[in-house]
Structures are given as C-alpha cells and as structure tokens.
Homo-oligomer: 286 residues x 4
C-alpha cells in the first residue's frame, strides 16, 4: 500500500559489505520507515549488487530534493552507486504504439481505467486508422502516423516529437521495426510484447513458426527494445499448453490472451520501479 | 482400464467421408466393444485423417491374426490406410541409454517399478560406469559401452546389437550424439529428453544458454530422434518459472524435475500407442 | 472450423456395444461428414455413455427436421438416448446478470465484440446503475432491477420475463442469491462464476476466507446453478499462486483475472455444446 | 550458495521504524556480510514484522555464542524480538513417519541421496512392514510400530522416544492421526502432506471426494500439524488439471506426483529456515 509520502530507491553498485546498513541507516536518520526491501547480488563476492527499497517519509514532496542530495553526498558517493529516487506520487507518463491488433492495447487501457496501472496514458499512435474509436472511447488522444519504407525516418521523427515527455513507450503489437536511431533515444524506455517464447521464433509470424514446428506450448515475451531485433532484456514471459488440434488461428487466439497478460505485468512492474537492467538481463523485484 | 482382451488401432489416411462408420462398423461386426476413440483431421477437406481406437474383443489372442487380416482386406484397403493393430497384452520392450546424470533414468525405473509404465525395461547401456549400482538395484542389466571419436561407429554397432529386439530406445540424458546411420535403423523408435524448451537453446549446455539470455521460464522437450540434431517431432514439453535469482546450478536442479516428468509422460504415451508422427509433428491422443 | 452446414449431436445413454457404429452409420447414410467425435463412458460395462459428434451436411437448414426425425426413429429410439441436435448457425441467446463488479461481464462483452463468443448477448440486468455506460457502450440493452428482501420474488419475476427467450443466463458476479423457484425454471441454463476454488470457501467473501486461511493458491469456479448454493455441477476451475504478501485486496485483484478467464471458457464451452451434465458432474468435451 | 560460515537470523517482532537499520548495523559491526535479506510486515503500521537474514561471518563456529549473546543484549532486547540464529553447518535431524504408500517418502529419500535436502534423515518409522526394503536400501534405519485403538498412546510414546533429538518429523502419508498430546510435544515441528487442496476435502479419502464432486483440478497441501485435524498452518500447495475422464485411481496416481513435489518443497523450505509461523498462517521467504 503506497501513499503520497511513499518513495523508492533503486540501486546498483559493486557488491561490498555494509550496503544494507548504510542505506537503512541513512533512511532511519532521515526519519523514513522502510516498507519493502529487496536485494540481490550476482555472486557471493566480487559481483554486482542490486537493491530496491520502498519507504515512507513525512512531507516527502517538500523534502525530496534535500533527501536526494543527502543520499548522493553520503551513501551513493561512498559506494559509487547508480541509483534513482522516485516518488510514487510522480505519475509516470506512458505512450502506446499500436497497429491493427487491439488485444494488447485494450488490456492496458482497460486495466488503466480500472486503476490497476499507476500511470497516465498520454497518447496512442498507430500506423493505421482502425483503432481510433476504441482508443478515443477511453478519452485518450489517438494519432495516425503512416509508415512506408521511404517515410520511415520522418515518421519516427514525428513519433519522437509527439511522444516527447513520456517516461515509457509501450509497443502493444506495433508491427513496425523501430530504427536503432530511435531506440537509442529511448534507452530501456520502450517495452515490446513479442508473440513467442523468446528466443524461440524470433522474427515474423511466430505463431506460424510454432505451428510448423509442432510445439506443445506457446508463449509471449515482454522485453525492453534494443537495437538488435527481439534481443533486448526480457522482463516477463509466460506460456499456455496447446496440442496438435490448434490451427494457426487457434494458436493466435490463445496466444493473444498470453500476450496481453504478460505485457500488462511487465508494464506494471516497470511503473512500480521493480525492474533493473543489468547487461542484457533484468532483475525483477516482484 | 485395459484387459488382456484390449487392442488398439492407430490409423492414418487421406481424409474422406465415412471412415468412422467403416472402422466402427468393422469392429461392431467383429463383436468388439469400442472403449475409446479419438480422431483428428488436419483440415476440413483434403487433409490427412488420424484415428486411435481402443476396443475389447473376446479371445483377442486367438483371433488377432484373423482380425488383422480382415481389417486389411476390408477397411484398410478401401481407405488406403497406414495402420497398426496392437494388443495391450504385448508388453513393449524398452532399452535405455544414459550417461552420468541419473534423474531422468531413475524416474523411468521408479515409475516402472511402481507399475506406472506398461513395458519391460530390458537393458540400460551407458558410456560410463557411474550408474551401475542404481540400475542393478532395480534388477535390470547394465552394460558400459565407452564411446570415443575413433570408436563411435563400433560402439553404436554394439549398442544396436545389444538393443536388438527392443521396441523403443529412450535417451535419458545420453550425452552422445547418435549417428544418422544409427538413427535411421530406429525410425521413430528413439525418444530423447532435451533440457530446454525447443526450439530455444538447441545444442550444448542449454541451462547456461538460458542463464545468459535471462529467460523467465525454463523447460524441457521430449522428442523423437531424427538425423537432424534436436529437430525431431516433439512429443511433450513443459516449463517452470524462474527468476534472476537462479544460478546455472539452480536452473539445472529445477530443470531436472521438469525433464524427468516430461520424459516420463512422453514414454508412457508412446507405450500406450497414443502418438502418431505426421511429417515433423506429432498427433498425441492423450 | 464450422460452417452454416455444421451441426452437433450430444448424446447420453446406457453404455452398450455398437453405439459409435450406429451413430456414424446413420450420419454416413445421411451424407454427413463427421468433423469431430468425442465419447466417454463412466465404466467399461454397465455405465453411462456420452458422445459429442460434430458433422457437416449439405443443406442443413432444409433437412434439419427430417434429419432429427430420422435419428429419433432409428438410432435414438433403439438405444434409448437423451440427445439434442443443434445447428451451429442457430445463434444462442445469452442474458447476463451483474451487480457492481465489472471485470467478469466486461470480459464476456469484450470477447463477444471480438467474435470469440458464438452467441447473441441480448440483455444485461443489474441490481445497480453503476455499469450502465459500460454495457450500453457495447450497444447492449441494460436494465436495472433492484432487489430487496421484500421485493425479491417480484424482482425475479421481472428478470424471468425480461430474460424469456434466452438460452443461457450468465451470473457475472451477480451478488444476489437466486431462489430455487427461479433456478428450477432455468435448469442447467444458468452459469455462475464463484470466486474461489470450490468446494473450498463456499459462501460469502471467499477472498477474505482465503486470506484468513493462508492458502498459497487462489482460484475461481464456473458452475451451473442449482437450488443448493455453490453446489451445482462444476464446468471449469483455475488457480493462481499467491503468497503471504497478498492482502485481501491483492487476492481480489489477482482473483478477478482468474474469474474472468474461467467464466469465459465455461460460457464458450456451453455455447459450443461441449458440456453434458450427468448427476452433479459435467462431461466437458473440450 | 552457503558455506560453513553461513548463518541465518529469523526474526518476528512488532513493526517499528529502524529494524532493518538495527539488524544490518549489528551485523556490519560484527564484520558479517549479508547475502540475503527478506522482510514482511502485516500492515503499514501497528502490524507484525518478519525478517530473514542470511549472512557470512568469519569463524562462525567459534564466535557463534558471543554473536547470539550480543544480538540478544542489543537488538533483540530493544525490539522485543522472537528470534533464532541458525548456522547452516548445523545439519538438522529429520525423522519420517510413513504407512504403506511409498511415493512421498521415496521422493524425500531420493532427493536427500542426491544432496538436495540439507538434513540428516535419522529414522523411518512405519505402522507396517511394507517399506522396509525400500528404506533400508538407502541405509536408513526402519522401525515398525504397530498402532491399534488400544495401543495408540503406547505407540506414540515409542515414536516419541525413537524420534527424540530430531528437529523435524515428516508425515509422508502416515495414515494415523497423531493425538494432540503428541502434537503438542512437537510444536511446528511436524509437517504433513495432505492429499487435497485444503481446505477442500478435509478428512478421509479426498480423491474419492474430489471424484464425487467433479472438480477440474486436484491438489496437495503441506502443512504443520496442530491439534486440529488438517487445519495447521499451510506451507505449500499445488494443483494439477484433471477431467471427467479421470477415475479415482487416475486422480490418485496424478495426485501422488503433486504430493511428492509439494512435500519436498515444504520440507526443504523448513530446513532452510524460510518458514515463520504467525498465528495459523505461514510467512515463506522463498
């Protein structure tokens, strides 16, 4: 349960003795009350250390800058930490990119409308008109930006401009491949849902690939987008059991249920500051 | 529930109207009682048709040959069927190949000892001495056949000879790649357990690959062995959820539980004549 | 894949030899092509036999009555069958009853809008105003019928009248207990979603009960409604893993995801004529 | 990864500010390195606080008593903690009680033999002779103590004596109900595997009950034994999907797989000091 005075620290640093003591001591002396604490270190010694602390502190809004400064000056400096302090009351802004399939996007809009996604959904951009009514029915602005081979750079520039100011972009089955130029401007700020259990079935039409291969489970993978197609850090995956009786259409229908749940979980964890990226992998404090 | 008078028909043919009527009519006129019937056709029309019928008939042992002949002469001929008639009382003979990991093999021996695998386990062959006591403790012959690059052909000849007469070979984490010469002598009669959710992580050390990739689920795949490594028809797959906290050793430990269950299910389905191979895929009537 | 010429036979009778032959022979002689066939018998002998056959026949609409009559006169009579013949092109009419929680109802409306529920949703009745906009946004009539202790009989009479002509009523978290008078007018035609893994946590506030008990999985159960509260034949169940960290509100939130999926599956199976009730249990040919 | 210098603190106390700081500060000043830390509080304020810390400290064996004393004198006293300090190198002693079903016991013996259960299995006691060979084959003493209505008190006295010195008793399908007198001598030190998803199907023959009820999932529950039958704190549960096709025997066979996995996980978590009992519920830091 979070309040207007809830904040979170996400920390990455070299693993050394005394980090918990230093962080918790700092918070104690600031009058903060720790409500959740997770940590993980890659190895017993010489590894990398990760920490997520959620805490309550009176008058967070007024004291936030001084709290950050004090943490930087004392603990973070001493341990050479990569860190961020977030206030739960800072509502993150999220933009969505979509094409024609609506299931993944609708799941996000629906959960958001029910208060289950702590964010503001600012805008939906699509390369097709199809989903305008569905999006505008939720009171969310919808813009079509067509993409052709020739206009791709220009289209991406438009998307970048329209999405400026967002904290996260979600590709809810956006069927265009974003250029590495674009992706590099949004580092670990673009989440994609891939309709297979990666690394199986990278690339186009994974349900057809799954059908041809005769797999007995199909899945979906939510991952951060990097310049390398379908290779970014995996946040969440899930599968469902299928049989020889499933046609490609059946696989797609069942798979869409998996996709929307996996994407919704990944986005939520990101919004709750539960995900730390380390190399090409994620630490998810769920 | 099967008895000494239980038999099964497994049928593959071009999909046409009237097959169920023809097969069930044949059985009815033979005085047989159908106890289970499954069918599947790849498409509504023009596809391939698959059927599994389990039935009871008095004095099966005495009448079996004439039953087969009659079926061949009437239904099978008319529909140009690929088919087999098996009597449940014909206990299938199974040989196991293993290296040093014992978990997959022990699960088979243990289930067999408890009456849960309808077969005779005739022999375990390994390229290492390690598991002799474990195997012989179950009263099953154990033979070591060492394999080196130079002796591979000879070793396989020995294995082929020692395993002659078996209906099925199970590779219960046998860490040698069988030659295509060997495999072709045992068509759809060798089941392997691969320690990943194929087609992800083909080849060596899949748990290391899974760790490096940061997947959130690990799995195992039981498949028939064909000349192409890890590409044969998949019989069964399953996964378990993991997190960033799992080391390679943890993945392996959890994965071994998945492996043994997946392999045991696949072997059992094969023994119960539930699996039909069609191209590179399986129909599993479970 | 079904067409305008697809029909289904659902059959229950005493288990005897020759039923498959009789049914498939009948269909063959009518020129029908069997596209799916499932059967089940409660015991090898002396039990009850259940069958579901899906078939294609030319000019189904024109021939339907004569087909029914012929089946009644020949096979059904001989085997003393309880049976029904349904044409897939007869779209079933479904009414929904709901209170304030929207998740289960929205899942149905949403799937229906996407073509995933083969039915017509004719009406939503609620004892509260809250969901009017949500329902009417789908173009479905919405009526409020208040229920108090004193007006219950009258309210049920109104519901019965407004829902007359429907083939199925779905209680999508309708928080009123229907009287046995009402239920008896809709035998095996009312499906309820109960927010626990029945028979655990019968009755009110099951998430609170689950929390107090400290269970490690929570579930949902879709069942036909009978006069005895929460005791009707179970159609489908599912669970999700939880931990001590889940508050009652967390259990409810996760549970709502389970509820909507379980209910959607149960309703779909009912609409596809996959469910046969036998005593207090269901046969589900899925 | 634990070493001879790994220790664990399990703590329960009233939730107050500063506990993490106090515990981690204490460990830091003792030169200990925290390798894992989990915490949970029942509510934001006024609730109960639970903590599990795993840490490494040089020369643990020599310093253990002074460490305990120092913790008691400083942190534990100040916060009025219920706590225990365990050294991973103190191998816990486990006794097993069993009747005729072998699956749950064999899973424990097998995992133990493979190094997957960190304990010493000291003795297996049964009320039947049947499993003597299976147990003695693992080199573990086996004693039969018959139980009749008249000799129950005496039998329990014998069991109590033979099991004296063990840290944990595991009822691996022991088909006798232990008296409350016995249970009170082993508070939260007896783990039972119940063959249903509790609280469904309390009491005798739960697979028969599940069959009669027509449930679509069957499960198993590992729980601490208290004086009230099948009502003790639940440690772990799991389920598997079943259908109308499962006979009582099929349910039992599949259920036994669930039972052995659920019991093995619960015992392991107990041995790794991951379970804290609070009222009638467990906190499991897994």
């Amino acid at each position: 349960m979070t309040t207007a005075n809830t904040a979170r620290l996400l920390i990455t640093c070299a693993d050394r003795s005394g980090i918990v003591q230093a962080v918790s001591g700092f918070l104690y002396h600031q009058g903060a009350n720790i409500t959740a604490l997770d940590q993980y270190a890659t190895e017993a010694q010489g590894g990398t250390y990760f920490m997520r602390v959620e805490f309550e502190v009176n008058q967070l809004a007024a004291r936030r800058d001084s709290l950050s400064q004090a943490f930087a000056d004392t603990v973070a400096g001493r341990y050479d930490m990569i860190w961020q302090l977030t206030a739960v009351s800072d509502i993150k802004k999220v933009g969505i990119l979509v094409s024609k399939y609506d299931h993944a996007m609708l799941e996000l809009l629906w959960r958001h409308a029910r208060g289950l996604l702590p964010c503001e959904i600012t805008h939906v951009v699509s390369n097709h008109e199809d989903l305008r009514d569905a999006v505008e029915g939720f009171g969310i602005p919808f813009t079509v930006i067509k993409v052709t081979k020739d206009t791709k750079a220009e289209a991406e520039a438009q998307i970048h401009e329209i999405m400026a100011g967002n904290d996260l972009l979600v590709l809810a089955r956006y069927m265009q491949i974003l250029s590495s130029d674009f992706v590099e401007k949004w580092p670990m700020k673009v989440i994609n849902i891939h309709h297979s259990f990666l690394p199986a079935f990278v690339g186009a039409d994974p349900y057809r690939q799954a059908y041809d291969k005769g797999v007995k489970l199909i899945g979906a993978t939510a991952h951060y987008v990097t310049a390398e197609l379908d290779q970014g850090p995996i946040i969440e995956q899930d599968v469902e059991r299928v049989s020889h009786r499933y046609s490609v259409a059946d696989l797609r229908e069942l798979g869409e249920d998996v996709e929307r749940n996996v994407l919704a979980r990944a986005v939520r964890w990101h919004l709750e500051d539960r995900v730390i990226v380390h190399g090409n992998k994620t630490i998810v404090f769920d």
